[in-house]
């Protein structure tokens, strides 16, 4: 049986359905950039080592250079173009602006997508490699600078803007935690 080596697929990207033909060898990264004109997602190493191509798949961060486009069909894909709410920047985007969390900006879309997920993973209580005690009884670790550096270690910045990136992620996490607390309070008083 000769199997087809290409398919017509429909990807759900930033809430929009996009139908396109793909050679099965096409990565999600190349489909986004070369076929869908979504060039915010950047190609760095193309081997899953630098994080520049980070997107969200069903809300989880993933490197789009090792994700085959055909295997992404049926999943919710969010790229840097889809994280803002219209003209209102995502709090992580705003924090990167406020703290100058970049120099050349090439790694920034990946850093921001990754940071959005880092904040959610931390809020869900996930431990990291620098968490002193991973047992659930120990409770969730505080999102310290050390925790942020470890959790963001899959995103390289050749300009070395790490100090500002860590500050931006910490600030965005605080903003998000405050918003969550306000929402919970609002629900209690409603």
């Amino acid at each position: 049986m000769a199997l087809s080596t290409s398919s017509v697929i429909t990807l759900n990207i930033n809430g929009e359905k996009r139908t396109l033909p793909v050679d099965h060898r096409t990565t999600l990264l190349d489909a986004l950039r070369e076929q869908l004109d979504l060039t915010g997602t950047k190609k760095g190493c193309d081997h899953g080592q630098c994080g520049a191509c980070t997107v969200l798949l069903d809300g989880s961060r993933a490197v789009s250079c090792l994700q085959l486009a055909v295997a992404a069909e049926g999943r919710e894909i969010t790229t840097i173009e889809g994280v803002a709410d219209g003209d209102r920047l995502h709090p992580v985007q705003q924090a990167f602006l406020d703290f100058d969390g970049y120099q050349c900006g090439y790694c920034t879309p990946g850093q921001i997508c990754s940071a959005i997920a880092v904040i959610e993973e931390h809020a869900a209580g996930w431990p990291s490699a620098v968490t002193a005690d991973v047992r659930p009884e120990a409770g969730a670790p505080a999102l310290t600078a050390e925790e942020i550096r470890e959790r963001m270690s899959g995103n390289l910045c050749r300009c070395g803007a790490y100090v500002s990136i860590v500050q931006a992620v910490a600030q965005a996490a605080e903003t998000e935690a405050r918003r969550m607390a306000d929402t919970a309070e609002g629900e209690l008083t409603a």
Partner: protein, 330 residues
């Protein structure tokens, strides 16, 4: 990259039927290693069978205190699971020590066991490599081998297995379940990886076309006091140059039970049974830990640039077991 067909499967029976029919086919899980090897030309499948939608994505506590982990559970899900963190903390620590957040979200437990060595000669098709091209030679023995094996290697291959997760699973006597077109089977992880010998291209005892469906961890109360420590050439996001999974049950200064497994020293996660035997029933002090490490590492065969691993592993054994003993005394 060679062109390939793609099929997504939702049933285990369909998956093994597809692969059994085609020796040129590969299962696609997270793809974090396979897709990269395809880009390099090391893997050249004609068909990818995407198994991510199989109903194998659950972690189920067993009544006996053990756990069953489905093959498509992601590394992230495994490390975040409260029962894994409670019953086998070293397993959660091992998974968290590997790769990056992005890769852990994509990578699956089954795929982790089947990932290939990162030996630079294996991943470069322009170079000889007995694992990739049997009979072509092993340039690592005379060449770049500072991160190669010190235990269980052969004159044909000195590559190391890169998994962190597998080291903890080995310490805890994990059993791998698989399915083939002829029915299901099981392999203890201790028998899962084949000795290197003169067939480094044959890596596992899985039958051809077999699909890993899950991993069972038997109950191990000792694992509740366990730790994984990894040494690498930078602070994060790098493969180990040496690692250890350890669990210790010590009462009144005497070792009741101990589990030890080493990573990045052999072609497979290395269960240190000689050291375990030397320690069991004896004192839980630094001298005993060092002597046990020496007993295990007496079999080490080093190359000109990887002899440091013997010292590294000895120090890791002493440091981690001392920590666990001190915690037990509190």
């Amino acid at each position: 990259m060679r062109e390939f067909g793609y099929q997504r499967v939702t049933e285990v029976a369909g998956a093994v039927a597809l692969l059994g029919a085609d020796p040129d086919a590969r299962f696609l899980g997270g793809g974090t290693n396979l897709v990269d090897l395809m880009k390099a030309g090391v893997e050249r499948p004609a068909l990818l069978v995407d198994v991510r939608d199989l109903p194998l994505g659950r972690i189920e506590p067993r009544g006996d205190g053990g756990l069953h982990i489905g093959a498509t559970v992601t590394n992230s899900e495994l490390a975040a699971d409260p029962e894994v963190r409670r019953r086998y903390p070293a397993l959660a620590e091992a998974v968290l020590a590997g790769a990056s957040g992005q890769l852990r979200n994509m990578a699956t437990v089954g795929g982790n066991l089947l990932q290939r060595t990162r030996c630079g000669y294996f991943t470069d098709p322009a170079k000889p490599c007995n694992k990739r091209a049997p009979g072509s030679g092993c340039p690592a023995i005379e060449g770049e081998h500072h991160n190669h094996a010190i235990l269980g290697a052969s004159a044909h291959c000195v590559a190391v297995h890169p998994s962190d997760m597998g080291v903890a699973l080995t310490a805890f006597d994990a059993v791998v379940s698989y399915e083939t077109a002829d029915g299901p089977g099981e392999l203890p992880l201790a028998e899962f990886y084949l000795p290197v010998g003169d067939t480094p291209h044959r890596e596992t005892a899985l039958p051809p076309g077999a699909l890993i469906t899950g991993i069972t961890l038997p109950p191990a109360p000792v694992a509740a006091a366990s730790r994984y420590r990894k040494v690498r050439e930078r602070a994060s996001y790098a493969f180990a140059i040496g690692s250890i999974a350890a669990a210790l049950d010590v009462r009144d200064g005497v070792v009741r039970e101990v589990r030890l497994a080493f990573g990045a020293v052999a072609s497979r996660p290395w269960r240190a049974r000689t050291a375990e035997r030397a320690l069991t029933g004896g004192p839980a002090d630094a001298a005993a830990f060092a002597a046990a490490a020496d007993a295990e590492l007496a079999a080490a065969e080093t190359l000109p640039h990887n002899g440091y691993k013997v010292t590294l592993m000895r120090n890791l054994v002493v440091a981690v077991l001392t920590e666990l003993a001190e915690e037990a005394a509190r």
